[in-house]
């Protein structure tokens, strides 16, 4: 029985590790909505996986990556204009399409709430391999390209003039978010994935003194929230995903009590 808890903790911590820095980048650029759109379309990936009878995790991962690619192209195409409403339409229609498809699939006993809100305590050893792989790739990419990613988060055009490969970095970041969303589905569920990106990063952003500190602190906050949420799920039988998000929110509220790096903020 203790295995269940250990796997769940490892899965949650692995997720917190990538959500920290990625969430910081997402927060700084104010593109949380991309995360939502990708998360909602992950459900579509699930339906596709059932339909084609292939590995569900891979189906979700590939669908998310493909949708991130489409979003990137949309961004290039509609350069300068706001994508807000377009993303809203894409986000919710893909969620609806995923739900309708899943409901029509015969033979597939789909526990929808597990996908919408996560089912962390059902994580098994095999699930950890994919998560570990995604973590390794993302952390490696972040390590290698962190400077450029931070530069485009501060001012993309300035970074472009300075010779940073802005388009490539943007695409890479969106693919990393897509992969994170795909593996986060099991942990916190489609509806709460963005919370794992935004809340720890917002907590850290106020307390940290540099972008790097911010990323590390967000990892720590996320990790602590995972352990606390898991504890709550274990002892009080609360749903794990929402408990984790609530713990992250608690940290965020507590952080508001401390004076931040900057005056008066």
């Amino acid at each position: 029985m203790i295995d269940v808890l250990v796997y769940a903790a490892i899965a949650g911590l692995l997720l917190a590790l990538i959500c920290g820095p990625l969430g910081a980048l997402v927060t700084w650029q104010g593109i949380a909505f991309f995360g939502d759109t990708l998360a909602h379309s992950a459900l579509l990936g699930l339906a596709i996986g059932f339909l084609l009878q292939v590995n569900l995790d891979l189906a979700v991962l590939i669908t998310s990556l493909a949708i991130a690619g489409v979003l990137f192209l949309l961004q290039l195409w509609r350069k300068g204009s706001s994508l807000d409403s377009l993303l809203g339409i894409l986000s919710h229609s893909s969620l609806a399409l995923g739900l309708v498809c899943l409901s029509q699939l015969e033979g597939a006993r789909v526990d929808l709430s597990a996908f919408l809100f996560g089912d962390l305590l059902a994580v098994m050893q095999e699930d950890l391999y994919l998560l570990l792989g995604v973590d390794a790739v993302i952390l490696l990419l972040l390590w290698r390209f962190w400077g450029g990613l931070v530069a485009i988060a501060a001012h993309a055009e300035l970074a472009a003039v300075e010779g940073h490969p802005v388009a490539m970095l943007r695409l890479m970041m969106m693919l990393m978010i897509a992969a994170t969303v795909a593996v986060a589905m099991k942990v916190v569920g489609v509806l709460l994935i963005t919370a794992m990106l935004i809340i720890p990063a917002s907590t850290a952003g106020r307390l940290a003194r540099s972008p790097e500190q911010s990323a590390l602190l967000a990892m720590l906050c996320g990790g602590a929230a995972v352990l606390m949420g898991l504890g709550s799920a274990w002892y009080w039988d609360t749903p794990a995903g929402p408990s984790i998000v609530l713990c992250a929110t608690l940290f965020y509220l507590l952080s508001q009590l401390r004076p931040g790096f900057r005056q008066g903020y």
Binding site: A151, A153, L158, A159, V161, E162, G205, R209, S210, P211
Partner: protein
């Protein structure tokens, strides 16, 4: 055509449209080494668009952009919109520049614009004038042959503006670089500028500011800032505008 080998940047026949709207119409622009070129014009004249085309951030619909190979450009954007949740000190902000961002260079660049003491401050805590100087410092890190400044004195009070333009003139002499900038305040940049280009979707006139400023009509009109664009239309004789403000006859630029 880069007929003059001495040019570091040359734009010819630039057209930019946005949908049905013409943003830039047949623009020629040449910059020589160490030359300070100032683009002035009313709001919506396409000044920033022209800078973006010159920098390669935006493609022209037609026309030619030629930069001297390996031209080092330092760019100072019009404004910086940092997210309040992004903790960045001034020094860390300068580190984002790709080339030569070692600690010594950063201190030196900050010292050149007189804001060395701000290095450890969070970017969001410094004043508008200080932010402009920090942005200018970051542009200097490229060891530029051309500085491109988009309204460098924006959000700076009038004393600060004069100082900033003086600083830009001084930096040109120290670094031996050319400067291409957009400004609203010609009377402030006058004495530092070699060439003025008055833009209103097309080039209304261009030339040495002295030549322009000796015109009594110009002097009279230039006191009134709102008449800035009119002032420059007025003494320009190579084309006329019809009642709708469109150019009636084609004009040639040297």
């Amino acid at each position: 055509m880069m007929s003059d080998n001495n040019l570091i940047l040359s734009l010819s026949g630039i057209h930019v449209r946005h949908g049905q709207q013409v943003l830039l119409n047949n623009i020629d622009l040449n910059i020589h080494p160490r030359e300070i070129v100032t683009i002035i014009g009313p709001n919506g004249a396409g000044k920033s668009t022209l800078l973006r085309v010159a920098l390669g951030l935006q493609n022209a619909d037609s026309g030619r952009v030629q930069r001297r190979p390996q031209l080092r450009i330092g760019y100072m954007p019009q404004k910086l919109d940092l997210n309040p949740l992004m903790p960045v000190s001034v020094a860390r902000f300068l580190q984002m520049a790709r080339r030569s961002s070692s600690g010594a260079n950063i201190t030196e660049a900050l010292a050149l614009t007189g804001v060395k003491h701000l290095a450890a401050q969070p970017m969001q805590d410094i004043s508008g004038g200080e932010t402009q100087r920090v942005l200018l410092s970051r542009a200097l890190l490229a060891n530029p042959q051309l500085l491109v400044l988009d309204e460098p004195a924006q959000g700076v009070d009038i004393t600060g503006q004069t100082e900033l333009y003086e600083l830009i003139g001084t930096l040109r002499d120290k670094l031996n670089c050319a400067v291409l900038m957009v400004s609203h305040d010609l009377h402030l940049v006058m004495e530092k500028t070699d060439t003025v280009i008055c833009l209103n979707k097309h080039v209304c006139c261009h030339g040495h500011p002295e030549q322009v400023s000796n015109d009594p009509a110009y002097l009279q009109l230039f006191g009134r800032r709102y008449a800035e664009a009119v002032a420059l239309y007025h003494h320009d004789h190579d084309h006329r505008h019809n009642m709708h403000g469109e150019v009636e006859c084609s004009h040639n630029h040297d």
